[in-house]
Amino acid sequence: MTLTDTNRLPAGTDRPYVQIMTDRCAGCQECVIRCPTGALSMDTKHWVALADDDLCVGCRQCVRTCPFSAIVVEGPLLVGLRFEPEPVSPEHLLGDIGEIRSGLAGWPEALAEAERCLQCPDPTCIRGCPAHNDIPGFIGAVRDRDLESAHEILRRTSVLPDICSRVCNQSAQCEGACSWSLAGGTPVSIGRLERFITDNLAVPPPAPAPSASELSVGIIGSGPAGAGAAWDLLEAGASVTVYEKEATPGGLCVWGIPDFTLPEVVATRPWRQLSDAGLDLRCSTTIRPEDLDGLLVTHDAVIVAHGAGMPLRLPVPGADLDGVVDATMFLQGAKAAFESNGDPAGFCTTLGLAGDAGEQGHPAPEILVLGAGNTAMDVARTARRLGLRATCVDWLDERFALARPDELAEARHEGVEVRFSRTLTALHGSAGRVVRAELALTTQKRADQHPKVFSQKTEELQIDLVVMAMGYRSDPAFADALPGTPLRREASGVPDRRWTASGILANRASAFAHHSPVGRLALGREVSLRAAALPVSERLWAVGDALTGPATVVEAMAQGRRAAAAVLDSRPTRPGRSDRAWSSGQRRVLVCYESSGGKTARAAEAVADGFSARGDQVRVLPIAKVGTPELAAADLVVIGTWVEGFVVAGVRPAKAMRSWLDGLPRLAGKPIGMFCTFAVSPKDSLRSMRKAVEAKGALVVAQAAFGPGELGAEPGVFGPAAFGEELARQATIQAVSQVLVE
């Protein structure tokens, strides 16, 4: 019993027990407004939070959201058991590519699972989902047995719910970020509920709007990123052409993910629906970097979504021996072999493996799969279905495995041997073909640490084939055409406080999520999602793996949708197009400033007044509130700052502005106006700002420096308002005008 609550039941009973530390509780109500069950209210006399244990379910959302750590919850989580369908064992592993995971059996199970959802007021699962699906929303619709509404809610953020529900690693995303998971329990089965919706009511096809703008968009690649972009553009009335190098659309979802995880009929569903809705799908059409200029003449905008299809290879001695192949080759070959007219035995023979695989008296050939991520699991499990023995090795510690936990368990159940904390040091051959692999042991203490080889003691494996399945990378040939890619999915600086307030960053997820830092991972994904809205160069967007390097299906889809929104928003126009109504809409101007004493803020307002007078749509924001979405939504950006320094010594833009400029994303030809306010002299402040924004690809169209004389708003003086009017007056904002007032 604590000293604090002598009149209440001690912890350890069968109910959760909430302890408000009234000394630290500031009455901010962060817990009150986020409590899913209404167990917290305010003691208005003392202005501290008040807990009702009878209503508390122990989710600890309050503990995670309290800014002053003034709440402790002890006791159990009051939540029902999660419905876990029986694992499906393949009838006959050999040759059976039937879907291995079953969904929820029926409405009783779905409703029971939906009831486990707390409908959190600030749901962390939404932030954990890369597409930000309204998870409590669609689960609420399932509770109401309203699948149409559920689809409608899903459609707001996703066009691939049937695919994502099958291939997403929910444990590191939505389910890992579920309140129950963050509290150390078992999360709501979000993925299965999403699948239940799509299993019981087909995903509605796109509903194209009548074309009014004649917007033409070319999309390179038909993976999930392309699907996301194409769907939204088509629905907005754009003319969309998709270029796919393979003969069938779907990209990695079709050739990279085996049918037993994602049946082809599901993987190709979006493309069937899109084609029916009027999409111009051009398969077997390869686009090279040098073709991009031509596409930009044909289309108003081009979205590069060609994925990351270049397999990684481990540079070890013996890697060039026969019998060393990559995952792409293996998975594509196996997929063809398992088709109705395919020949699995023939495929094995092509790989140099004995055709008598699995026959009595002959041990099945052994393949070594390098890596133990999801691709490696796909390779190894496919190999098992070809009658081969498979061993996966990965240098990571098993605690930090990259594969989905359920996929890892399924693979082991099917007889795949998975060895962690080992790395391949050499391959040895006989007569030019690989026969033996040499492995060294590794150690890894933290997830963000590279494993180290800690012992020279080696293991040896007799093998017949090596498949390198460590993952993929983007095609380096596009590096020049797509500046700034691949983008690091890593958030820097102080995390967005809305995320902190939700509690997703408060602690790591439970054992269910392999203790992944789900919040930090989600914040990193948010960086790329926001970056997808900005073009990498004029009228050219990159999304999905093309933008970030290898990522997940749902991330790619979400980025595709975000880029589509940006295309619709920015009204790009191809050369020679004569649709003035499309390109001459009201100009949106963003005036962002860094002000200390208020002088620069007032100057920014005056600049905005200049634009307003010309009928432009203006927003004025301090730079702390300006992120990628705000920049993406502006046709012209004006940046203003005060200058720091002593009289004329060390004069430069304010530090906050310098940091903000350093952290800007690619601005790809975005027109920028700049100004600074100074007391004695701006010196080279504008020049250094200009250098910083031009390094991000922006186009500086005007700049001005305002001293005490200009800020006085004397009639006839070229002050901030005149600067704004001058900028607004220009017939085209691309016309470069140098206005330097000192």
Binding site: T2, R34, R497
Partner: protein, 534 residues
């Protein structure tokens, strides 16, 4: 739909909201998370009666001045306030250890006991926790904890533990305990006399080391809030001050704020190190004036407010028992420091030392015993007032932790103790005056002595600002002023908080005012007696 956004208010609105309202095309780029957040509405009931009396006047917001705003926004501001004190106190440590053993000539001892302690009192009476904003002890430990002098860092060098609630609920009683301990050590080793200057150095080293340990183990300024020996004195006496601290400009903005950067920390500032939310602060008790909330707030909704003197004594609605007990204990301590001059107490101390084998004054049993008796007598008198005046039809029982629990005794003890703050503060201040008036000029030869000049024969070494009788007169005047202030505060507190629960307004007014007068008179008489004893 397309809405022209040209008015200034709309331009400054939340970007996400604007994106949704302004243009449906722009809405596509809006954050879908925001659409799916369905927060419960915050509680508004009772706000007016809870905060109206303690909210400062908007016109007294000095941060409205652009020059002040610019200064407060500057991250180096607090660093530059701490730096001079940091230099002085490291000098104190080194000079105390390595300099002359003559206390009056040693810069370490002279600056600390002749000037600093007195200045801190002036500062707290005028500006609340101004010293905390420039404190070199917490400041040094905070630099280490944040791994930066002024930058907004994210990774801290600290285990980041929470101070256990079992202890935290005793709030101000904990630092009073450390203050009692430090005072006993100071008396036992004659540090503040001042005695051997090295003792002063060891004392400062001890404070810095304990601060550092607490900062490395616990999060934020746990040390400053719960442990620092000075914090209870600065907090209580500082509530007479005219600086209300950093408070919200518009509480509605704070209630609807979705991020609470002032508590969690934002791009420009750390979350409040003192666990204070500017929107719910009703006194300057826990505002360390560190400016972090001001820097963090993205809405510019926090101001630095001045207030009328004694507002933080009179106005707060949420009275805390830990603060009341702290005041009573501090009152006991300051009376002890006066009574210990009497021959009767010296005889008692010697008798106790003889039986308990303590080498010399002060005997810990006598020390703690007398403080406890004085504290309990004060509390007992207030209990008597409660028993005499309380209405029988009012229920006082209320569950809660140590600081919040209610009873008839507490219904009288807590507000009356707050009313005693001015007289307690005046007594502490008066006690510092003799050293200041007699010896503060010695700081000049002490500085000169560090560079090999001056000595005990310097005229400044022997100069004094006031003669002994005049010092006593000044002390009595200070006590009189404190008593008058306490009478005024007690009158206001009695009117608002005690009369509604008392049978007779006259009786409660007479008894509470009588208590204040007795306390003031006791302190004044003791100063006269101390002079007579000398």
């Amino acid at each position: 739909m397309s809405i022209q956004v040209n008015d200034r208010a709309a331009r400054l609105a939340d970007p996400v909201d604007v994106a949704i309202q302004v243009n449906d095309r722009a809405a596509r780029l809006a954050d879908p998370v925001d659409v799916a957040i369905r927060l419960r509405p915050p509680e508004h009931a009772g706000i007016a009666e809870r905060f109206d009396a303690s909210d400062p006047t908007p016109g007294l917001d000095v941060a409205r001045n652009p020059h002040v705003a610019r200064l407060l926004h500057n991250r180096k501001f607090q660093f530059l306030m701490i730096l001079p004190n940091q230099i002085v106190f490291w000098t104190v440590i080194f000079v105390g250890l390595l300099g002359t053993a003559v206390p009056g000539l040693n810069f370490g001892a002279a600056i600390t006991w002749y000037v600093w302690f007195c200045l801190v009192f002036v500062m707290m009476v005028v500006a609340g926790r101004a010293w905390c904003a420039m404190c070199p002890f917490g400041g040094f430990a905070e630099w280490v904890q944040r791994r930066a002098f002024w930058q907004r860092t994210q990774k801290t060098l600290s285990l980041g533990r929470k101070f256990p609630e079992g202890l935290a609920q005793f709030g101000f009683v904990l630092p009073v305990a450390t203050f009692l301990l430090l005072t006993w050590i100071e008396e036992y080793f004659n540090i503040a006399g001042p005695g051997n200057p090295a003792s002063t150095s060891f004392m400062v080293i001890g404070i810095v080391a304990s601060a550092l340990i607490f900062f490395l183990v616990f999060e934020r300024r746990t040390f400053c809030r719960y442990i620092c020996p000075l914090t209870s004195l600065i907090g209580t006496v500082g509530s007479m001050g005219m600086v209300a601290g950093f408070r919200t400009r518009d509480r509605e903005v704070c209630l609807s704020c979705k991020t609470k950067d002032c508590m969690r920390g934002g791009d420009q500032g750390f979350g409040c190190p003192w666990y204070t939310w500017p929107a719910s602060a009703d006194s300057n008790l826990y505002c360390g004036l560190c400016t972090e909330c001001y820097k963090s707030c993205p809405e510019e909704n926090i101001g630095l407010f001045l207030q009328k003197p004694f507002t933080s004594v009179v106005a707060p609605r949420r009275r805390r028992a830990d603060v009341a007990w702290a005041i009573a204990l501090l009152w006991g301590l300051v009376l002890y420091q006066q009574i210990n001059f009497t021959n009767a107490y010296n005889s008692l101390d010697s008798w106790l030392n003889g039986h308990l084998h303590i080498p010399h004054y002060p005997n810990p049993v006598g020390y703690l015993g007398l403080i406890a008796i004085l504290t309990l007598v004060t509390a007992g008198v207030i209990r008597g007032i409660g028993a005499l005046c309380a209405r029988r039809d009012v229920a006082f029982k209320q569950a809660g932790n140590f600081a919040e629990r209610g009873s008839r005794f507490r219904a009288y003890f807590v507000p009356i103790a707050y009313g005693l703050i001015p007289v307690v503060g005046a007594d502490y201040f008066a006690r510092q005056l003799p050293k200041f008036f007699k010896s503060s000029p010695r700081v000049v030869p002490a500085v000169q002595h560090m560079f090999g000049a001056a000595g005990v024969h310097s005229w400044l070494y022997n100069a004094r600002l006031l003669s002994d009788p005049r010092i006593v007169t000044t002390q009595v005047a200070v006590i009189a002023l404190g008593t008058v202030a306490a009478l005024w505060a007690t009158w206001r507190i009695t009117t608002r908080e005690l009369i509604p629960v008392s049978r007779s307004a006259l009786a409660v007014r007479v008894t509470t005012s009588g208590l204040v007068l007795v306390c003031g008179a006791a302190a004044a008489v003791l100063y006269v007696a101390m002079q007579a004893a000398n």
